[in-house]
Symmetry: C2
Subunit: 268 residues, 2 copies
């Protein structure tokens, strides 16, 4: 804690993961994590730069932000860095026409993208759309290409909803990778380009930014590889065994976002 | 061909893959591959030992054999080596109680196995049972264990049915492996123990046996690693690019089972 106080003094910007840090998602829309609504408000009042850095791909940013606003969070679409817009930039740059294996509610993010006669597959957290038939269809598009192109909106293993743990996009990405003997290009955390675009949007260099997340690999490990400090919260998908992770060690643990903000704001 | 004629002289037993060699499977039950019914009959008349070595896990051996008999094949349950009975032996030996993620029609193979309070997951080609909900359920059983045990009835990437290519059990195995950070134990081809038990059932040493299959990795590569010769047929899931496989080279190619049997029987 004392060590953290020392480096927290240099901080000018915070990157917050959303699911598992601000709220616990679930079929009913989810519930805010105690103290997080107030913590976001305090960050904004402090003058620190703030960016919400999410791998959420079950809804458009508009819908996602509206849900969080409904829970009381002070958040706007312009403050959110998310995988779908990042993927759209790549698709346009490389003239790729995607077959989408994504959640119905994410489809509007791809409204301006040509999807006729697909020459790649984009996979997101499709949830109920991860049916046997839909996976076979995406597989057939890939295996029919001379060099299959698979773009994955994240590589998370699983996440926690109010009714339990669920497989995340990374698991289904691995299934298609194996079946087609191809390596997916990951957009979203932990991709370096994704964190870098969030930092650029804040105008803060990595050494003056802190990432706060519940995912030891995708939030903490990814941010650290970009030169940021990273805290793991003990909410969301956090599990005690994360503290013995063989490769990734957070710069500090905090019980939740509220505690992280307490410690950081005390140093300013 | 001349080279093949030389080593085919020493053969005393044949191992035949079933799907893609004897017949093409499909929603309607499938159709025999031209010449294969007669080819099986000729093998039996020749006095060669014969074993059907399948990774089929969409039905009990009884039901599977009945389907093949209905197509005209001379085949009995006692001649079939299949993954489910091999898995049952392992479950009993190690007092494992499985949560089953398998095809409904395979469940009777596990009738005598205690499935209460599961301490492992057995995954087969569950086909329509590979729903989002069922995958999450199997995942939760695994992630809740201190050391997750995942037993997979094969590691095939995909197979061909009459209505197109479909993801095989290996793809879903990879999804669970990744989500739980665990390595599955594979029962069925290409596991060495599986081929060895088929050889033992025939009473033929590997150097006097030939495997005939359509899967370059699981049939051909697996059999060769046991010291057998292996032919790839150009039926079933065969694709021309298999002939440039980076690791596996069949001892010979044949257009189909009938041609393989022609060449082999000419040497006896």
């Amino acid at each position: 804690r004392r060590e953290m106080a020392a480096w927290a003094r240099a901080v000018r910007g915070l990157l917050l993961d959303v699911s598992g840090v601000l709220y616990d998602s679930g079929g009913d829309g989810g519930v805010p994590i105690a103290g997080s609504v107030e913590a976001v408000r305090r960050i904004k009042a402090s003058g620190l730069k703030l960016r919400f850095c999410t791998n959420e791909t079950q809804a458009t940013r508009e819908k996602f932000v509206k849900k969080l606003q409904g829970m009381g969070f002070d958040i706007s679409v312009a403050e959110v860095t998310a995988p779908a817009p990042a993927a759209c930039r790549i698709l346009k740059e490389r003239s790729l026409r995607p077959h989408l294996l994504v959640h119905n509610d994410l489809v509007p993010e791809f409204a301006e993208i040509d999807k006729a006669n697909p020459n790649c597959v984009v996979i997101g957290d499709a949830a109920e759309n991860f049916t046997y038939a839909n996976l076979n269809e995406a597989f057939r598009v890939l295996i029919g290409m001379e060099k299959p192109v698979l773009i994955s909106l994240g590589r998370g293993r699983y996440y926690k909803e109010t009714d339990g743990l669920k497989l995340d996009v990374g698991a289904y990405m691995k299934a298609l990778e194996y079946a087609c003997d191809v390596q997916a290009e990951v957009v979203g955390k932990p991709a370096k380009a994704f964190f870098e675009s969030a930092l650029a949007e804040m105008g803060v260099p990595p050494q003056e930014a802190i990432m706060i997340g519940d995912d030891i690999v995708n939030d903490v490990g990814g941010a650290q590889r970009c030169g940021m400090r990273a805290l793991q919260v003990r909410t969301g998908k956090y599990r005690p065994c994360d503290e013995n992770h063989p490769h990734v060690k957070p710069d500090a643990y905090v019980n939740n976002l509220a505690e992280a903000v307490d410690v950081i704001l005390q140093q300013l």
